[in-house]
Symmetry: D4
């Protein structure tokens, strides 16, 4: 029966949602962990054939990425973001500032930036802006003001989301990270803190989910008549 449904590609081990690009503006994204190279190659091949926009594989290590790229031309690998992408879209008019609270939050921020860039958002990256040195936050107010939305990536207590939420009148998407020590509890402390933020209207995505934050920004970009 679903053999005849043109929006689902049944590969046996996976059921690829071909309709997602049309429905949501970005094709289904492949989460690499737990998948073999053969599986990733088959899914990507199917997505490239049946869609026209970018195709992404997230959380993929360099060796797997190389193996898949050897099979499918045109893939670009970003090893900080662990992102493998085909047919990335040029940056449109909607820009996102990705702000990280500390150097340890960098891999998550890198994923947010790389995914956002691949799906056509303009990106600015601002590193290592912890609230323990407020002048660092105040110094980047101009950069934040120039963006259409802000992704705040922070572990520890996640206070940066509250502080930036109070400074700007933009969508603020907070990403708690599992970075931290002391009593960070693998990101739970930051997750709870960002939810209890005293700055109204801050929203939160899952722990370490740079990908989710970029996709949330993409949804916002789509609300504009002219996102690109």
């Amino acid at each position: 029966m679903n053999g005849t449904d043109p929006t689902v590609l049944n590969l046996g081990f996976a059921r690829v949602d071909l309709g997602r690009e049309k429905r949501q503006g970005v094709a289904e994204v492949v989460y690499a962990p737990g998948k073999t190279r053969e599986h990733i190659t088959a899914i990507v091949t199917g997505l490239l054939a049946h869609n026209t926009g970018p195709v992404l594989v997230t959380r993929v290590d360099a060796r797997t990425a190389d193996a898949v790229r050897a099979e499918i031309d045109g893939g670009q690998y970003d090893d900080e973001a662990r992102l493998l992408a085909w047919r990335p879209v040029p940056a449109g008019r909607f820009t996102v500032a990705v702000v990280s609270a500390g150097t340890a939050d960098w891999p998550v921020a890198a994923e947010a930036q790389a995914v956002a860039a691949a799906i056509g958002l303009g990106t600015t990256v601002i590193h290592d802006v912890g609230v323990a040195g407020l002048e660092r936050v105040l110094a980047v107010k101009g950069q934040l003001a120039a963006a259409d939305a802000v992704i705040v990536v922070a572990g520890m207590e996640g206070a940066l989301a509250s502080v930036i939420g109070g400074l700007v009148a933009k969508p603020v998407i907070a990403v708690p990270t599992s970075a931290g020590y002391g009593s960070s509890f693998e990101g739970i402390t930051a997750l709870l803190g960002m939810h209890a933020s005293c700055a109204a209207g801050v929203t939160v995505v899952g722990i370490d989910s740079g990908f989710g934050a970029a996709m949330a920004a993409h949804r916002i970009a789509l609300t504009r008549a002219d996102p690109r």
Copy 2:
């Protein structure tokens, strides 16, 4: 020193942030629980005098609302949303659909709707669309497609956020509610489930925070050149 800072109104028991309207587009909102009528009256009086836009008091019971309105003209009270508002803004061009999963989620949805309306967003309300009867969800796809953003209010397991996140290409702001029984744990189950949502780019605000969801939608509306 802060006596001379024009952006802070020091009432002794409270330090009102007069700069917030300019900085964020909406004046500081008063959270009523724990404040006396006199305190609420004083803060609202200050906000009305030093700002020009809407002034809101949330989670306020009817008796307190009546007492404050007796002191300050022009306040409108919405008893389902428990919101007291002065100088509400007419609906602009940005519209939000507020969708609730069950009848028990209504008070939170009401707060989201009322706050959004008071600060100038167009609102559509869609009640009681649980995923256990999928046709109810599918039936409202058209209404969801017509909105610029969707606020999903759900307790229990919060699955509605994933389902709607997969259906629409809009910003989806999920609000976990403390409604539910069985193993809902006062909203924690829904909060975690919404964060682990398999629909990419769904964002989440705090438990029962209809107010927070409305403010998040407002931040998104501001990214458009023409929000109203």
Copy 3:
């Protein structure tokens, strides 16, 4: 004293429950982790000698399985399910559909399928039917309707259990998996979500317990006069 109890086989390091096959329809199943090859071999030998139906070893790695099979003839090993089985029973008339929400849930679904098949249930496997693409779920309604019971295997937020619970009038046995990222918390999010499911009558087994789900289905099959 228990040397004379014919329903207990005391091997010193283990006390095998020989009466379970008669009492429950399936002999005691051996959980491999933490047991040496010699222990597994001795227990299986005892079970084969004193029972007449299938004998199973779960969560066993390939090397251990090979070593045990070298000692005891007739064992069949399923490496995806990590199941080692002797004397599997042909499929009877009671059939179970095993549905997984994502590719990462596959190992748990494989265990459910393999155990169910070994103890005489008919099985259908439906992979990768996440709720973020509802048409994938709707497309398999026919296959679900043809089964006597449905095992839903899902990590992340576990919403698939609610959606399928609402679609079918069959026993739905939900298995939360530890697959997932973001805020899945090793399956706790899915476990809680499945319990708080808004679809009435969904039941849940332990995290990653494909085995438990198959056994639950077996208990249901036994309620029919003609399970095979």
Copy 4:
């Protein structure tokens, strides 16, 4: 649009799923807490008009039940189970034994029994069979063996589910209750214990969800060609 969908009754404050009776064998069940008498009356009226089988309201207190019954004829109220029912179905051939571990678990067991009876299952109730006096459990083995499925209702550590799961070859549906003291943590201890049960194939529903257990039994009864 959904005004023309015959399977949804849109009452404004609620969207009644009229298709559920046909889809799942039992009409949508009304959860009373948080609903006004007027709301309950309107929903029940709609369900009675558009369905032909039993209509149930759960967790309803006596005063509300009386008020609703004054508006709608034929309702029967069970005050121990806090259940209000119209058009109950005579007991069919599928029977359920409801076993409680202690006297404090009685309200939950009563709900399971009353819901099961109203939707056409035969029921046997066995009270106060704690494992601290094993002979009490052993004494009821015959009663358990005569039923088609067993609902085990237990708070505290929930050990009764494991013990009964080991004794019978029937579907065992465990209901953790919030009864208990010491370290019961409102049912969480029993919930976890039932999930970690060493008896294979025990399934679990939400805390205090006698209703959910009865519905799960109903799903099992439907797998038989001749449930009634």
Copy 5:
């Protein structure tokens, strides 16, 4: 035996630690909840007789306080702090700034201030300095710089502790409060966040423990040769 130990006053229902004043600089403090008026009166009488410094009763309601004061002269009651005190000490040279993040944190801040004042610390109170309006924090930098130690009282996400910890080179004692909503979880979110603070050297006391913070400040004051 302890009848002859001069440092313990055995009242039967309580064993008063008379040596604490000498050992720690402040006599044992009486925690009122759960104690009868007669018990409080007896303990205070004993402490006044055997010590020479301040005697305090915390978390005492107005009616109990009045009843005890009717029996023992000289007690002063602070109803915001719910503190009853005899023989308070004039403020010495060591001063503490008590800063609260929101108006809801006031009762805890009041307790910290009143206890600190009663045991001889100079106190400054700064209300309602949330990080969502940073200029409010920056505006009080001078006041913070003039104090010897800072007590930060905050609920919600507790970010104020990190921000102030980064601004001043003083001992910062953070008090998480149970005030808040959304995802504050009765102070747990603030407690965890304060512990994971990115500002080095911030210390934390128990939830709502204004008393504990004042006593911690007192311990610091004692490290100076000239605390008064």
Copy 6:
């Protein structure tokens, strides 16, 4: 069938374990909360008729106790312990010291003492021995040394169990209490702390379970040939 089992008294609403007195030395104890006066009266009547030793009702309020005593002669009520007892046993040769850490722990300590006394243990009560004043602990070493076992009742951080566990070579039964504030979390902090105690061989019972501690002491007394 169990109508003929002489060790079970089936009252319909309860199944009284008549064999427990013979099996365990003390008849089944009635936990009052949630039971009606009629239920308690019926159970106690049955226990008195079929057993010969003490019969106890725990956690019973004064009004219920009076009502039951009006029906059944000879009951003695201890309102601090909330214990109702018939046929208490004179103190034997095995003695228990019940030590509480603070005055707030008194109700739990009272239950431990009253239950222990009613079932024939000698008891010594030592109140309010917190570790913040170590000399109070050291002062009672002689009293502890004279007892056969020690029950330590403590809330807060529960450190008294570790300290006493290190001082004496007796069985130490620790009872965490829900008393406390700050970060006591209703006894969880004390429960965990007592389990992680650095004093080897300390055992723990449930939160607030003075009853459980007394029963544990009774089990120990039975190991002696001459407990009385």
Copy 7:
């Protein structure tokens, strides 16, 4: 100062409590993890020189044990229990039955047995007595009745503690283990379940603490005039 305290041996890196043997009947026991071979050797040497009874090192791996034994004669190593012991005491008259619920609980049971034996308790070991096969429990009632105390070692839901607690009138010391899968949560489920046990007077020690259980049994043995 403590150089002259004859009850403390200050080794610089450790402060050995030489008085513990006299105070508690067993010398301080050395917990190996985290200590170097040199540290263990030095502490054991000191304990052997200043005490007369058994000296134990727990949780020590075979290689470390061999290295220490090469330095100090007379050490005996039990590799299942991971216990290294000098001067073990012959079994006295007090006997302990160590009962495990499953084969995976064996390492913890082995530690309990080996420590108990080394400090002079008689021990009986009963393996793999899970409650899912009750006849296995009932079959060993005689062995349990012959012991003076019972140590119950169980992971999963820990129900064995309740069942045995109900069967015997002995001290029952429950040890939750981290063995298990599904929803065992590293022993937390068993820990909570054992605390909420419906069998009165069961006591609990820390997760996996076979050592703690043996020491608790030793404390009980000391209550007898004639433990050996």
Copy 8:
């Protein structure tokens, strides 16, 4: 813009807070985990150039430390504390006693000591003073009395903080450690216990945060006119 802010050194991958030494008395401290050798080298080089006091790298392994020292002269490495330091300050007049409860707590205590020493505090180290042998605590009272502040490092139940808090009239900074077994839960048990301490005025820092405790002591030292 921040290129011209003299208090921030923008290295691209990190934004070094050059103003912190002036603002807080100690330059920004580098947390090594997750940073490459090149990153550490660049940050340290910048800090040495723009500050005049000590520069520290914490949690750095020996190989990384050697590599960095090969690039930058004058670094001293303490391998127990895993601390790399340049320009350590001679000990001033403020002294801190670092007390550990057990040998397993040593690495955390070593970090506290080494950081404190490097930033100019006098330090005394007292090892292995567990409360299970109280005489060990009492024996060091003199050493504690001679210090200006006490850092208490303890895992397990953390009771040492309460005991020392009751003995001395000094600032007590408690550091929970992840050392321990049984039910220590990676330091959570100690963290909660220290917060619920019955000794008033004890403060707590994050789990394993010897660094945080040293910095808290430094803040206290700064309150004296003459810290050095």
